[in-house]
Symmetry: C2
């Protein structure tokens, strides 16, 4: 029988002793590898990083945009990187921000779960219930769906009402549904987690670079900490640049270790 996504999250947090999600934002110019093929360059970069970190992270989050900007070579790299991560038993959250009306959402759900073979996906709730349902249907097949609830960017306040969104996400909830909640405002994060009764997996980007510290976040979340994931992308991917080394995998592993220490589970 297939394991459901929530169990997968908890199992990986226990096995790896980590709730860190390693975000993957490939930028060719930042990858210190002499290799002409963009696809091979990206695959080698993340394969090395995964080799160095897989036993101390609880998930990965490839960002679709960063791969797709390189066209077919980028997309081929994404396919390969997902496979590398799955071989290491890491839950793969494809950060694709998908969302459309009924039939189109069904096609997107088929894309992310059947073609990309992601374990979970990020989606936008903007078009409402019938736009999220085709994704949520896959929760019955062991997949996860993180719905954008409060993003961590300056424009978030323009059209988002996080309380209203959180209430809808709660209404749509079934096991496997989670929420993306930015780390910028720890009080809001706490409030949203309480709306969910602490039972919904949260994916929390924006730690460090954009906002709150990992320690504050963990305190705000309270129990069930292994259900959640704190994401770090550029702080792991390209941290080698701050350490006066080209050993990007070693630098990434060190940054992961530090973040795990700060989280302290």
């Amino acid at each position: 029988m297939q394991m459901n996504f929530v169990k997968k999250l908890i199992k990986s947090a226990e096995e790896k002793n980590s709730i860190v999600c390693l975000g993957m934002d490939p930028v060719l110019e930042e990858i210190p590898i002499n290799e002409q093929s963009p696809s091979k360059k990206i695959v080698k970069f993340y394969s090395d990083i995964i080799e160095a970190t897989h036993d101390s992270i609880g998930a990965v989050k490839p960002n679709y945009a960063f791969f797709a900007q390189y066209g077919f070579p980028g997309l081929r790299a994404l396919k390969k990187v997902i496979s590398v991560c799955k071989n290491k038993k890491l839950p793969v959250i494809l950060d694709a921000k998908r969302g459309d009306i009924g039939k189109s959402s069904a096609a997107y759900a088929k894309e992310v779960f059947e073609f990309w073979k992601a374990d979970a996906v990020t989606i936008s709730p903007f078009m409402g219930k019938d736009s999220v349902e085709p994704f949520i249907k896959y929760c019955g097949k062991g997949k996860g769906v993180y719905i954008l609830t409060r993003t961590s960017n300056p424009g978030a306040a323009d059209l988002q009402d996080y309380q209203k969104t959180a209430a809808k996400v709660k209404e749509w909830h079934t096991e496997g549904v989670g929420a993306v909640v930015g780390a910028t405002n720890v009080a809001e994060l706490k409030e949203i987690n309480e709306i969910f009764d602490g039972k919904m997996p949260l994916l929390i980007p924006g730690v460090g670079a954009q906002g709150g510290s990992a320690k504050e976040i963990v305190e705000a979340l309270g129990e069930n900490i292994k259900l959640h994931r704190i994401n770090s992308s550029s702080g792991i991917n390209y941290v080698y640049k701050k350490q006066d080394t080209d050993d990007y995998a070693g630098a990434a592993a060190k940054a992961v270790k530090e973040l795990n220490g700060e989280i302290g589970i």
Copy 2:
């Protein structure tokens, strides 16, 4: 010098005498072509339809989801279909509903305009100003950006406030920015067009199948009709099934002619 997107819209409406946008939603099971390769099947289907309709439509709207559900073969077909449409001087609106925070949106904009080479894209405003800006920047390079303002699905009311969204879209406006407004409620369509002073290109899906008639929509829009596009997807793509024929291209051309007649510009 590069023609801006608004001029491109008006020019194609004048040359083709049509404001119909042909939506492209490939579904392999619905395509009556004996061909094993999904990619070739999709490309032949739409090449034949474009050959039969290109002189009487004012734009095309390939739906990313429907191509992407077939993985790499679907994406290769999308690349080819976009090229076929551009060769016929049709404005290509990639219906991809993209949207993310700053750097990710910049990567998505690079994807749609530089890799897919679309003339315009549909995006979600959910994450606010800094999420739409990287797309809007391309308007200066002749590209178009349609921002979801009022979708035509049942769940639209869950989290959308179309008046608030329209006000934001107007605030963000620069030449080349347009709005996606469903045809379900003609009174709302009229209201939104008035908020925009009738000056913003509207992309209107949901005619026929989901809502208002083309005639009502044209009346509601008033002047500057050549700026707007009325989209029809399944009503053109698979109309052959209703006509007891396998001549899908001929059936599509007939449906386009009827829709143009109903619009009556």
